[in-house]
Amino acid sequence: MRQSEISNIMPKTIKLTKGLNIRLKGSAEKKISGLSSQQFAIKPTDFTGVFPRLQVKEGDGVKAGSPLFIDKYRENIIFTSPVSGTITEIKRGDKRLLLEVRIESDGKYEAIDFGKADPASMTRQEIAEKLLQSGVWTVIRQRPYAVIANPEQTPKAVHISAFDTAPLAPDYDFIVSGQGTYFQTGLDVLSRLSDGKVHLNVSKQTAAKEFLGARNVTINTFSGPHPAGNVGVQIHHIDPINKGDVVWFAGVQDVITIGRLFMEGIYDSSVTAALAGSEVTRPQYYKTRRGASISTMVKGNVNDENVRYISGNVLTGKQIRPDNFLGFYDSMVTVIPEGNYHEFLGWALPGFGKFSTSRAFFSWINPSKEYRLDTNLHGGERAYVMTGQFEKVLPMDIYPLQLIKAILTEDIDLMENLGIYEVEPEDFALCEFMDTSKTEIQTIIRKGLEIMRKEMS
């Protein structure tokens, strides 16, 4: 218990003031229902930088933990099936890009036995081997570039963000409750993989003993608006990434998945996901699995036809169809109205009900209102004119506009100097949200990271 005592003695709260909490209607009620999905899919597009090479064909039978595809350039990175059943479809897009490997569950959840194990008595090599073989390795990602971690490298630290500040985000205190032993085992595993510290970054408001009592980790406390829950922001304030550094990160449910692998010996793909958003009739939590179809979740639970389904949150998630699948790393599904309408003189109206971070609309009169925001762009794309906006929502010592322009001009040295290694598209989501010029900043940041990744490899 000594470790936890030490970490509790120094609870230094890192207070962030920059950022923005967007108050949306339809947060999930703290109620969990089971969900029996039949259709599953693993989407290679969820894994940035992975070139999939298929290991199965349509009609093959698989178990939970059976390889579906591997990364062509890093063959030890294996992506495995979340359930047992049959491969029903291999879906490809333009230029034969592999979009989905669909699996129909047989409802038995038979799993390959990888063997129970105690991380404390294993070498780093053995631990990595077990994670790779079972496909659980894919839950561990690295910065820079926000891609799946390279097992050949040793990170300078591992970071776990134990809270999410994005709009309507699930409450990890609620999700982790009852999963404490798995979570702790997962942390123990991660601490064996890194020479440096494992940082568990918690919210100041958290009361979960699973987090506050965690052992073998350094607990850092954060307070402040979104993006305080972004792991990139946390890393920046605890131990920033310099050129050449590699830091790993994983989410709370990823740690639980790792824990289950070592305690049960199987790849258990269960996750708890929140269904939220203004268009959901009964927003709540569901017990589901990675890659599960959301159709059983949303059927009869959504108000309108003209809506957008998002795997993930409204700032960073991916648009999916109502019969599509939960993203591999996602813990929520959001449903918001589409904004495909024309608004007469919309830019000139007083705008009492229009959410804006500027006080350019009269909605500033009512600061605590919850909004039903739609997907309208609210304007056309322009050159960058306004300045000083992005700085208000990026709690990092980084010059956002300058970095964006460095990426647009593909100035590699400047990108590096301005801190491209420290960021991920999600850190710029709020900048994109509030951009008067309506540019696609997250896409730009991703482009910059890809340029750097190619340059450095």
């Binding site: 920033p240 959001t334 350019a360 304007g379 960058y384 300045t387 000083g388 900043i441």
Partner: protein, 385 residues
Amino acid sequence: MKALRKQLDKIKPQFQKGGKFEKLHSTFDAFETFLFVPDKTTSHGSHIRDSIDMKRTMSLVVIAMIPALLFGIWNVGHQHFLSHGETVAFWDKVLYGLWKVLPIIVVSYVTGLAIEFAFAQIRHHEVNEGFLVSGMLIPLVVPPDIPLWMVSVATAFAVIIGKEVFGGTGMNILNPALTARAFLFFAYPAQISGDKVWIAEKADAFSGATPLAEAAAGIGAETVNFTHSFMEMFIGTIPGSIGETSTLAILIGAVILAFTGVGSLRIMVSVALGGIFMGGLLNLASVNAYMDVPFYYHLVMGGFAFGMVFMATDPVTASQTNKGKIIYGFLIGVMAVLIRVLNPAYPEGMMLAILLMNVFAPLIDHYVVEANIKRRLKRMKPAKA
């Protein structure tokens, strides 16, 4: 509105590629998006977006200029009748002012927008909203008696040479409205400086000197003799360019800009502090009557307040970093007062100070960003050791 929308949707194909009026696509688009916020939805990245856009931003700046404009219209009439020794009703002054000012506004907008639309069409861009602001700024910084053809020429110069050659809104180095004014100042000095031009159709016998000119006369004299009190200069019942005389009306605009977050309060405050600092310094080291003019007079004389609120804050030509904005603003204030007092050939130091700092803004930003880069490199060193 539905009928209008239907009509627009009906004629829209003719303006798209392959349509009859393909060449007028940007024009159609500008009018369509003016009438209706487009139905375009987010496709990548954040699924929801802030309601603010460039139209809203720019129209807020125009709204912020309205107090200065309205006061300017009245004051043009007021000064005119005052110079003739006539006492007339409030509305007569306003009518006279409208008769003088409206044509200038119309000429400025028509010239500028025509060029903007043409460039947008050539570049296949959407029409930028930037000129909505410039088109209003230009009339406010010229004297009421300026010939309309000059307004047109200056506007064309500003839009083409000041902005479009750099790539349009967002790419320009110099503030377009100030470029227009500087063009007038150097090309037609007789029409934009001296004592005669600041009152519309002034009676010859009446001295039409602005406080700045009176102060400049103090360089060789014992004392500066102001016709107007500090309070009159603050309220704005003095001769001068159409929109720049009333510091009070300009401050109302400043509040609108700062409160909505459209204009940078950081820049406005640092310009004021820079002016106060330099004015105070000159007071202390005074060797002539102009240098004796109390520092706070500089804030209400000439175009200082107008430049501070509406010109220095132009986000495209100002410094882009927060630290840079403080330095940029402060130096504008310092330079404006310095040029005014020490170089009587250029009574309007504010215009030159802002243009000068426009040129230096990227350099200031460069050093601010460079400091960030150094911090990042420094952080690395202990790890290497």
